[in-house]
């Protein structure tokens, strides 16, 4: 009888622990899968003309070429490997949500010396694009976003 009760208790404990581990593991895998899925749906492209990028301020134009709507305030910009802060972002019509095919204007006020540079823009879920460019002093035209 004692052997029976002990066997039952051990079996139940093993199942209890196993179910807990599987629940935890599958929850983690589900979250990771959702993040990966979101990242796969996200694509951004820096569309600046690499021959002519204004240096002061540096303005990057980033197009949402994926199929997800992104948060325009949750982008990170690196120039020559350094995180740029602060940055100003703007969408046409002053929208907050960065919808597919919309172009986000990112203005970086930190001065950049004239010459060759590279910039990387990272969206909220890790999707990114990089551009190498030459800076050029550009006159501001009557247009603008």
């Amino acid at each position: 009888m004692i052997f029976f009760i002990a066997a039952m208790a051990i079996a139940v404990a093993v199942v209890w622990v196993g179910v807990g581990v599987v629940q935890d593991l599958s929850g983690g895998l589900k979250t990771k899968g959702q993040i990966m899925s979101q990242e796969l749906k996200t694509d951004i492209e820096i569309i600046n003309d690499p021959r002519a990028v204004s240096s002061n301020p540096l303005i990057l134009y980033v197009k949402n070429t994926g199929s997800t709507t992104l948060n325009s305030k949750a982008v990170t910009v690196l120039v020559d490997g350094k995180v740029m802060n602060p940055i100003q972002t703007r969408l046409p019509g002053f929208k907050q949500l960065w919808e597919p095919t919309a172009v986000l204007e990112i203005k970086i006020t930190a001065p950049l010396v004239r010459g060759d540079h590279w910039a990387k823009v990272v969206a909220e879920n890790g999707a990114s694009d990089t551009i190498s460019f030459k800076t050029k002093l550009l006159p501001f035209g009557p247009w603008g976003l």
């Binding site: 039952m8 051990i10 021959r51 994926g66």
Partner: protein, 142 residues
């Protein structure tokens, strides 16, 4: 002894089935979602690979800057989602008049020419750089 083994076996079996059910319930929709995302990514990459555009002319009649762009790829494009940069500056889409030449359709099909009329009166006479970017990120420079 025999009864203990059988009962333990049943408990472990039921537990294993429960674990399998938990895994299946949590992961099956996830796998389907991931599969759909991978397919969507493949479609986007293929679409960009198949998109080729070339600037065939740029001239300035009056105060307008007219750029003609040929769709030399094999994808049908949306003119409304084309972006234009002149001298590195993005021209707001609403200011650009877009028209597919000799067509009444609004689709920019392979072999067709898209005419872009840019009202930039302040643009000085001389050399300028133009960049055209399509909806999938394919671009042409002149």
């Amino acid at each position: 002894m025999g009864f203990s083994v059988s009962a333990t076996f049943i408990i472990l079996l039921v537990g294993s089935l429960a674990m399998g059910a938990i895994l299946y319930n949590n992961l099956d929709p996830n796998v389907e979602d991931l599969k759909a995302s991978v397919e969507a990514k493949e479609v986007r990459v293929a679409s960009k690979e198949k998109t080729v555009i070339d600037i065939i002319s740029a001239h300035r009649p009056g105060g307008m800057f007219v750029v003609r762009v040929m769709n030399n790829g094999s994808t049908v494009l949306d003119p409304d989602k084309v972006d234009v940069l002149v001298d590195g500056q993005l021209i707001p889409s609403k200011q650009v008049v877009k028209r597919v030449e000799h067509q009444h359709s609004h689709l920019w099909c392979p072999g067709e020419v898209l005419e872009l009329r840019l009202p930039i009166p302040g643009l000085f006479i001389g050399k300028h750089s133009i960049a055209i970017v399509t909806e999938n990120g394919a671009s042409a420079y002149a």
